[in-house]
């Protein structure tokens, strides 16, 4: 019998709200959004955690510019705090070494991380999700009570994949916070239509910010970007009003 699932509820019970930043497609800004959202929430005084579940494409450590993230071993794994955000990622253990994992490894690693990580009291736990409809998504649905923020862009393929993503979340009875369009071009939005079709809140549009890439790797600089201001005004506000 696997002892780990039995303690996960206990480990998550002092977290007020869990937000899984997903959407299905890769490269649509899930990682910059989840990272910046966690920085914005911490900056506003909320107790915030960031959990990177994109094991095979982990990038929040690069976006944060995080070094020395190995957790403290104290009756469990206590996450290191970076710019006010409690941070947990597979890269805390692997650093910059490639870590190929099959689905069964991913399930095992997620279960282990959730069983040993001591988050303490949190207002928000933000999860950076990988692309796809695979083990990570299904395990997150089964093991945690997450609220999903479904990200899209204006591109056709992204919207079609987001539609499938919402279908799986609906079938699985998972909570959906809303649809957020990134890299918008100020045009009429297929993402808004998608949200309306599924009767999900359309949270808004985030513009392409040409200065964002330059701030990647520096948390203070990230907080100064227009991107961060848009995340704050569109997303963080919605979360607080939930």
């Amino acid at each position: 019998m696997d002892p780990r699932p039995g303690i996960i509820k206990e480990r998550l019970k002092s977290i007020k709200q869990t937000i899984a930043v997903s959407g299905g497609k890769g490269g649509i800004g899930k990682s910059v959004t989840s990272t910046v959202l966690s920085l914005v929430l911490a900056d506003a005084g909320y107790k915030t955690g960031l959990l990177d579940l994109d094991f095979c494409g982990a990038s929040t450590q690069t976006i944060l510019g995080a070094k020395n993230t190995f957790p403290k071993e104290e009756n469990g794994a206590v996450p290191i705090t970076i710019n006010g955000v409690k941070f947990m990622s597979i890269t805390c253990f692997t650093q910059e070494t490639a870590t190929p994992m099959r689905g069964t490894d991913i399930t095992n690693a997620i279960t282990e991380l959730l069983a040993i990580t001591l988050w303490g009291d949190l207002d928000f736990l933000v999860i950076d999700m990988p692309p796809g409809l695979g083990d990570t998504l299904l395990d997150t649905i089964n093991l945690m009570k997450s609220n999903f923020l479904v990200m899209t862009t204006p591109s056709k393929t992204t919207v079609e994949i987001a539609k499938k993503h919402i279908e799986v979340l609906r079938q699985s009875n998972a909570q959906i916070i809303g649809v957020l369009e990134n890299m918008s071009r100020g045009e009429p939005s297929a993402s808004r239509e998608l949200a309306e079709k599924f009767d999900i809140p359309f949270i808004g549009q985030i513009n392409f910010d040409p200065k964002l890439e330059d701030a990647v790797g520096n948390a203070e600089k990230l907080l100064e970007t227009r991107f961060a201001k848009e995340i704050k005004s569109r997303v963080a506000k919605t979360l607080k009003s939930l």
Partner: protein, 137 residues
């Protein structure tokens, strides 16, 4: 010592098990410790016993704990070669062993098939903490 967190998981799983099966008292929990995770036995056992002292039925100080070690066997999915983790362990530095101690799957970052060098192996035996049996009445 994150062994404490895993001990909590064992105890809470045993309690859940008692609720499901209707056992009034859990008399014994048989635990197997997979070599890959390099659990420190003494602190782990100490944590379990400390927790049991504080508890009352279905688990309490009379619940017996038995630990059994399990060798870790890795099997390459590319060339099918099977090998013993002990051989790999001797070549890993302390930091890597410590990382695997937290999340055994990060072994895929640090261990390669000794025959074909592929990182695509399966942990067929001895991954980590597992409950072999819960006995009660």
């Amino acid at each position: 010592m994150h062994e404490w967190a895993l001990a909590e998981a064992v105890i809470s799983t045993a309690v859940e098990f008692a609720e499901k099966t209707g056992f009034e008292h859990i008399t014994e929990i048989e635990i197997s410790i997979g070599e890959l995770q390099q659990i420190e036995e003494d602190p782990f056992l100490f944590a379990l016993e400390e927790m049991l002292k504080e508890k009352s039925k279905p688990v309490d100080k009379n619940t017996k704990i038995t630990l059994e070690k399990e060798n870790a066997i890795l099997k390459c999915k590319s060339c099918k070669h099977e090998w013993d983790y002990l051989n790999a362990l001797n070549e890993l530095d302390e930091e890597k062993v410590e990382s695997i101690h937290f999340v055994p799957e990060v072994s895929h970052a640090f261990i390669k098939c000794p025959k074909c060098n592929s990182p695509d192996f399966e942990i067929t035996n001895g991954r980590g903490v597992w409950i072999n049996n819960i006995i009660g009445k």
